[in-house]
Amino acid sequence: MEYSNLRRQTIFMKKNLFDQGYLDEQFNQLEELQDESSPNFVEEVAALFFKDSSRLLTNIEQAIDKYPQDFYRLDSLMHQLKGSGSSIGALRMKNECSVFKANCNDRNLEGCRRSLQKMKREHATLKQKLESYFQLLRQVGPSEYAVSSRK
């Protein structure tokens, strides 16, 4: 049956996101908070995250090119991104934030640049994967989302 197939695909897709380290337990926590009164809660939080993170990445990119470098500001911006990423369970991004912050601490500009490029790649990949996941969930339907989220 097509419906069972879709359900299996969502479960498999989500498992992959966890197995490959893109998401952590916080994503499950968000799904637990989704209910009939807020049926699109997780997708809304994800949209907020990507809006915030895109802005922060742009600000970081602009700040990193300024001279002299303000490592305090760079650290502060990345701290915001880390907090935002933690809210959605974006594990790989969160880990890369820590790498960037360590480079700020060491005043290692090249390290910061490398970390930022990696961060942008992780960001783009996570966005694409989550968009696919939510698209599939919409096909499955809201009544089954709660079941899928508990797997």
């Binding site: 916080q26 926590q29 637990e32 908070l33 209910d35 807020s38 907020l48 701290h79 907090g83 809210s87």
Partner: protein, 140 residues
């Protein structure tokens, strides 16, 4: 049969990032509601986007309807969580203040406790963490 009215818990969430406010809002509602899914989840939530607004809200609420719990972020524009905590304590307000930060470094925790916070928890806020906080301060 007498029905006991459930007292509404007043919570102030001090957090500058919208995404963190959205998640905290939902987690608090879940923590208050439990598994009952009751519409009347027994709390009123106010929000402040920085420490300065938080201090104003606490001052305004102090005489009429003081808060039962304050959840305080650390890094915020205008006034950070440490300073806001100090100023709230300086007003003589004894409402439990729980510091919320994504770092959780010992120095950060110590600074918050030194400023007058009662407890510390890490971001992101979850139903479980908030449930534990509410239990600790006998609010649920």
């Amino acid at each position: 049969m007498q029905i006991m009215a459930r007292r509404m818990i007043r919570v102030l969430l001090v957090e500058d990032e919208e995404i963190n406010r959205v998640v905290a809002r939902a987690a608090l509602k879940a923590a208050m509601t439990g598994d009952g899914g009751d519409d009347d989840d027994g709390h009123v939530l106010d929000e402040a986007e920085n420490g300065e607004v938080a201090v104003q809200r606490v001052r305004a609420a102090a005489s009429a309807a003081p808060y039962d719990l304050i959840l305080m972020d650390r890094q915020m524009p205008a006034m950070d969580g440490h300073e806001a905590t100090r100023r709230i304590r300086a007003m003589g307000v004894t409402t439990p203040i729980v510091a919320v930060s994504s770092d959780g470094l010992p120095a950060d925790v110590e600074a918050f406790i030194g400023a007058g916070a009662d407890d510390f928890t890490s971001k992101p806020l979850t139903k479980e963490k908030l449930g534990n906080i509410l239990s600790k301060f006998r609010l649920a």
